[in-house]
Symmetry: C2
Subunit: 193 residues, 2 copies
DNA sequence: TTCATTTCTTAACTTAAGTGAATAAGTCGT
DNA sequence: ACGACTTATTCACTTAAGTTAAGAAATGAA
């Protein structure tokens, strides 16, 4: 299981056995079951998450409706904005499936940095890469219709459509569940001709 | 003029005179006039931009139509995703107004880092902060209607509505220029009763 | 100032998303 | 297997965005 973490890290920097042990000695692996809420709206937290296996999502509750805005699956990391801004969280984080993840914070990061500074370099590379990736996603979202977004998702992350309830996918695509259902109908209609 | 840059940096780290000089010795200040294209689709580049005064925008050309997705004004930084991914750029960067900015790349950054390592810490903080900020923006975009987005922009960045042509604001809001014009009419209509 | 070009508005029409409500299908725990 | 609850579909209706096209307003250059 730890392999997933080290495979991920090795994309950025190479690790000696000592360094691996340094990480294992501080890092906390957690297994959480489906439906567990890791973070609630209004809570303060310093924790970042890294998904080793499973799936978590972030959602807001607006006008008594859940608005899901992101999913994190294998090898994906989430640092909630409230960790950076030191304000109460505006969203919830919950587990869609039984999930294995690491939970870490700035103190732990500092502890690892103290033992090998290249860890900080990795963190910088990682957040630059995430920033660029998210920028592309945002641009794609802005420049395409709900239908194009759905087809794009089908192409890029087909697994999500299998493992996630449709009403959660709907807000992720910026529309209502009824519209997604209709839109899907329209597409299969087309494909039959 | 350099003050804008140092004011910005001082939000993250404090600088000695020597350190300021180290930055000035490598950094390149450029003044570019309205309409100048800093980056074209298909080009390779290693350059990041930091706006000291003025405004630049990023836009795609899709189906022969410009799709503007972001604006950068005073104290805002842009590292195009293609710099990170080392692929040709998917978008254009151009100046909306006469603009003063710094243009820097990883080599220059390394040169500064060599002289004072806390610069890297600042870069990490900066990209983490930008990531969090962009995440909030994306979530707001997903969970609101075009009209709410426009009203939100009016509230948060009223300057943009003044300095940017409306057809560029439209795609930034995820709609067509005609729809933005109509939407604005609807709003002023409401406000008169 | 004048002309050309760019940007914005308006209108009629088409298409799709939002809304409210009812029903169907699927899931979970006992 | 049963009922309770959650999730997905469907329908009729409303609202707003996309499309096409024409014309008005603003901008810029000669």
């Amino acid at each position: 299981m730890h392999d997933v973490l080290f495979d991920f890290i090795s994309k950025y920097i190479s690790l000696t056995e000592d360094e691996k042990n340094a990480i294992l000695s501080v890092d906390i692996f957690r297994t959480v079951k489906k439906g567990t809420i890791l973070l609630k709206e209004g809570q303060y937290t310093k924790d970042s998450y890294f998904v080793l296996k499973g799936c978590i999502r972030t959602y807001y509750v607006l006008d008594n409706e859940e608005k899901t805005t992101a999913f994190y699956t294998e090898m994906e990391a989430l640092t909630p904005p409230c960790v950076i801004s030191k304000t109460p969280s505006e969203f919830y984080v919950s587990c869609i499936e039984e999930t294995i993840l690491t939970v870490s914070n700035a103190d732990m990061e500092a502890e690892i940095n103290a033992q090998f500074p290249k860890f900080e370099t990795m963190c910088k590379m990682l957040s630059e890469e995430l920033l660029a990736k998210q920028r592309i996603d945002f641009d794609e979202f802005k420049t395409s219709s709900p239908e194009q977004r759905y087809l794009n998702l089908l192409d890029k992350r087909p697994d999500l459509i299998q493992r996630v309830p449709q009403y959660q996918l709907a807000s992720y695509l910026g529309i209502k569940p009824e519209s997604l259902s209709r839109l899907r109908g329209r597409i299969t209609e087309k494909n039959r001709g």
